[in-house]
């Protein structure tokens, strides 16, 4: 399999677990084990759009319990004899290989996946991806003459990885304590993006927009807007260097 592989570096790896649930898009090639008309194939693929049952494959990283996954779209792009090119948009954790097997089962012919390429992972698209030689070239340019322009195209600020989560912007005076793992008090909050539900994962950021930590909202938007005291969010995973902002607590 080829395509989009999202990598976090340094302390950004602390928020890895928040990146697993992104929607995915795949483009791939399937092969039917007997000839089928294009319209029949198209119709069968349409039947697999929506909520489907999948049992993870024998060789997989998760427990092999039957689970449901959502297929947002599953389109036939091209067909040539028994081979077909497809595009599928799926919930995270959907096995494309299984989806193609299901096409074969429903058609009664059998089918298997020949090739697969991930084209989208959450906010990250194929167009933004870099093969390893791009990374090598950008490093080479920087190491040779200090030009970091290519490097900055490859290494994107961690803030882009957490853009799917609502932001809570906090005062400079509260940054160091959150960096040290303290929970965020409402008094430390300057502004926030609504809506935020109680218990929702939020991205705690500085006034400059720097990502500090992932937190879990203790208060929803309305309480967060007006409450005078209490905890706004518990601090879950800290990414920011704790020495970047000065300690301002007494």
């Amino acid at each position: 399999m080829t395509g989009v592989l999202v990598v976090l570096t340094g302390s950004a790896t602390n928020v890895m677990s928040y990146m697993h649930n992104f929607k995915k898009e795949y483009i791939g090639v399937g092969e039917l084990h007997a000839a089928v008309s294009e319209s029949r194939l198209r119709k069968t693929m349409k039947e697999l759009v929506g909520r489907i049952y999948q049992r993870p494959p024998v060789r997989s990283a998760v427990s092999r319990r039957l689970r449901t996954r959502e297929v947002f779209y599953f389109d036939l792009l091209e067909m040539m004899d028994r081979r077909f090119l497809f595009r599928a948009g799926t919930e995270s954790g959907t096995y494309a290989r299984k989806l193609i097997n299901d096409v074969g089962l429903l058609l009664g012919t059998g089918a298997h996946m020949v090739e697969l390429r991930r084209t989208i992972d959450g906010p990250f698209k194929e167009e933004d991806s870099h093969p390893m030689w791009d990374v090598a070239a950008s490093l080479e340019l920087y190491r040779r003459n200090g030009d970091d322009s290519l490097l900055r195209k490859v290494f994107l600020p961690v803030e882009m990885a957490v853009s799917a989560y609502a932001s809570v912007y906090i005062k400079d005076s509260a940054v160091a304590s959150v960096c040290h793992g303290a929970n965020l008090a409402v008094g430390g909050v300057s502004s926030f993006e609504e809506p935020i539900a109680e218990g929702e994962d939020v991205a705690i950021k500085t006034l400059k927009g720097e990502f500090i930590a992932m937190g879990k909202a203790v208060k929803g938007s309305s309480a967060l807007a007006k409450d005078k005291t209490g905890i706004a969010a518990t601090t879950a995973r800290v990414v920011m260097d704790r020495h970047l902002y000065p300690k301002m607590w007494r």
Partner: protein, 77 residues
């Protein structure tokens, strides 16, 4: 690269208390020093066929000389 991507759902900013940031510490996320950025980044790799996701991350770490890096979801399914 583009500006920080906005969430798909339009989110409204609610101001609780105006506060001015100090520029004596911290950085604008888009212009943090390169050494700091490289250890606080997301890199979207275009994985080629052959090596596993794990192998790709291992060679990426070696190439960039990073102590820590990890991928967010295996490309083996």
């Amino acid at each position: 690269m583009k500006e920080e991507k906005r969430p798909t759902k339009a989110r409204k900013l609610i101001v609780r208390e105006e506060s001015e940031p100090s520029w004596e510490y911290g950085y604008n996320p888009r212009s943090r020093p390169i050494d700091m950025l490289m250890n606080l980044a997301v890199v979207v790799l275009d994985k080629q066929g052959g090596p596993t996701s794990h192998d790709v991350v291992a060679s990426f770490k070696r190439l960039v000389k990073l102590e820590r890096a990890g991928h967010t979801g295996t490309l083996a399914i």
